[in-house]
């Protein structure tokens, strides 16, 4: 494989402290759905992978995690970046993916087509990282569930339509199901499988 020059640059300046920082942001967002986290350090993954999505990739992916890349992200630059910085294997099988990265500009496969975990091991499910247009300015979603005192609001713009439709089903098969991290540029938010989402009337 030819090495793309963008594959070698744009990682963490300080891998140890930067990945700790990004992880705490992701952890807080996952523990408190509706919270929007910010990736402040200068991570520059090859376009169109966003900074926050790239930072999540650097923080959580390695040789133990098969990664699925959506069609829009399956570029030599990004696969090279993933290989060089994380050493993570690529997979075409969605059910084998520990992490799946997708972009709003390409169609996202059904949530049910990814690994759902088993009843005995519900943790063996895919975590989807979906790049949306923005985390605000879209239709307002009302979130309920663990991590939320009463309700929380999130208005992601460019979230694929079927994600909302399939989300109820994702919740019904609890404890199985996928977890989602939404990213937009430097910002991110998380939707763990326990989160109940309803579309708030404007």
């Amino acid at each position: 494989m030819q090495i793309h020059e963008t594959s070698l640059t744009g990682g963490f300046t300080n891998p140890v402290l930067d990945s700790q920082n990004v992880f705490r942001t992701v952890m807080n967002c996952m523990a408190q759905p509706g919270t929007i986290g910010e990736v402040a350090m200068g991570v520059e993954p090859p376009a169109p992978l966003g900074a926050a999505a790239g930072a999540v990739m650097l923080t959580l992916c390695d040789h133990d995690t098969a990664v699925w890349l959506g069609p829009h992200l399956l570029t030599p630059g990004i696969t090279g970046w993933l290989g060089f910085h994380c050493g993570a294997p690529l997979t075409k099988e969605k059910t084998e993916a520990k992490f799946a990265f997708a972009h709003h500009k390409a169609p996202l496969p059904s949530l049910m087509s990814f690994a759902q975990g088993t009843l005995e091991y519900p943790d063996r499910s895919t975590t989807l990282v979906i790049e949306v247009e923005a985390l605000d300015g879209g239709p307002t979603l009302e979130l309920k569930g663990p991590g939320i005192r009463t309700t929380a609001l999130l208005s992601p713009k460019g979230l694929p339509e079927h994600v909302l439709k399939q989300w109820a089903k994702n919740g019904q098969i609890f404890p199985q199901g996928v977890d989602v991290i939404l990213t937009a540029g430097h910002r991110l938010a998380a939707l763990p499988r326990t989160c109940k989402i309803s579309l708030k009337e404007a």
Partner: protein, 293 residues
């Protein structure tokens, strides 16, 4: 530290941290479910909080303020050595004040002071499986969790009532998290169970020897198992703390002599010290102060 550049920040190597971090995220997404993880050898024996230490090491950053308690106390061996460990390997600020801490690692207690949003409580867990003493086979307990088959646990509590007239379990009292998983809150006294319910803080549990991580996100239902005619109740104490006079706190018994004299004091040393600094005195403290004056 720089001349001793032998250890990575927070001791663990980065691959281990990533593995633990992935387990923590899944644990948060499935409240009360025990996520298996590849627990590492730590520079302390199993049973000394290696699970909690690995969880803390994977989440801690240079801006954190760490508090470590052992049975509520900041000054017992386990707490002192773990605090010193993180001062050495992560150069992190430490405190004994519950309110100032961003991460609190605990063995067998939840602080009396109500935890706030943004704080993380890390429990050291010896046996994470609440069903283990009822069913020794992991394959079976895993299936029981999968099928939400918790009848055996209720039988155990019922047998308590049949034998003792009440539920005799006083610590590691089983809870149901988010209406789904029965979870061992670690050997905290059942006095602390109500504090877990809809706590503002994130609660993470690490079991090093048993290689399990589980979590309770903030604002999550944590309900102690009971029966309609035998509702869950916490321990009560006849007298207030002998040093600070606090009521409705968990007290430790301290034997004073071989003639049967004893006193009961707060198990949470920070809570007790803060109250005494505020001028509260209990019955054992008051006379000596008067004598000094």
């Amino acid at each position: 530290m720089s001349e001793l550049a032998a250890y990575n920040f927070a001791y663990l190597d980065e691959q281990t941290k990533r593995m633990i971090r992935r387990a923590i995220l899944k644990a948060i997404a499935i409240p009360g479910y025990q996520v298996p993880f590849a627990s590492r050898e730590m520079p302390m024996p199993y049973g000394w909080g290696t699970g909690g230490v690995q969880v803390t090491a994977s989440i801690i950053g240079p801006d954190d303020v760490l508090k470590v308690i052992d049975q509520g106390a900041d000054d017992t061996t386990n707490a002192v050595s773990i605090r010193a460990f993180f001062q050495k390997v992560a150069e992190v600020a430490v405190t004994t004040h519950t309110g100032e801490a961003t991460i609190i690692q605990t063995r067998h207690r939840i602080p009396e002071e109500t935890l706030k949003e943004g704080q993380v409580l890390v429990y050291q867990v010896p046996i994470p499986e609440p069903l283990r003493f009822l069913e020794p086979r992991e394959t079976e307990t895993r299936k029981m969790h999968a099928l939400e088959e918790y009848g055996l646990m209720h039988v155990k509590l019922y047998e308590d009532i049949a034998r003792h007239g009440r539920i005799a379990t006083t610590y590691a009292y089983p809870v149901k998290v988010h209406g789904r998983y029965v979870m061992d809150p670690s050997p905290t006294p059942k006095f602390d169970n109500p504090k877990m319910h809809r706590s503002e803080a994130l609660q993470l549990f690490g079991a090093g020897r048993e290689k399990r991580i589980y979590a309770v996100p903030p604002h999550t239902d944590v309900v102690s198992l009971d029966f309609e005619d035998h509702p869950f109740e916490i321990q009560t104490f006849d007298k207030p703390c002998a040093l600070c006079g606090a009521n409705h706190v968990y007290l430790d018994e301290i034997v004073l002599d071989d003639g049967g004299k004893r006193m009961f004091v707060c198990s949470d040393t920070d809570f007790c010290e803060t109250r005494r600094a505020e001028g509260h005195t209990g019955e054992m403290l008051a006379p000596s102060q008067e004598a000094a004056e």
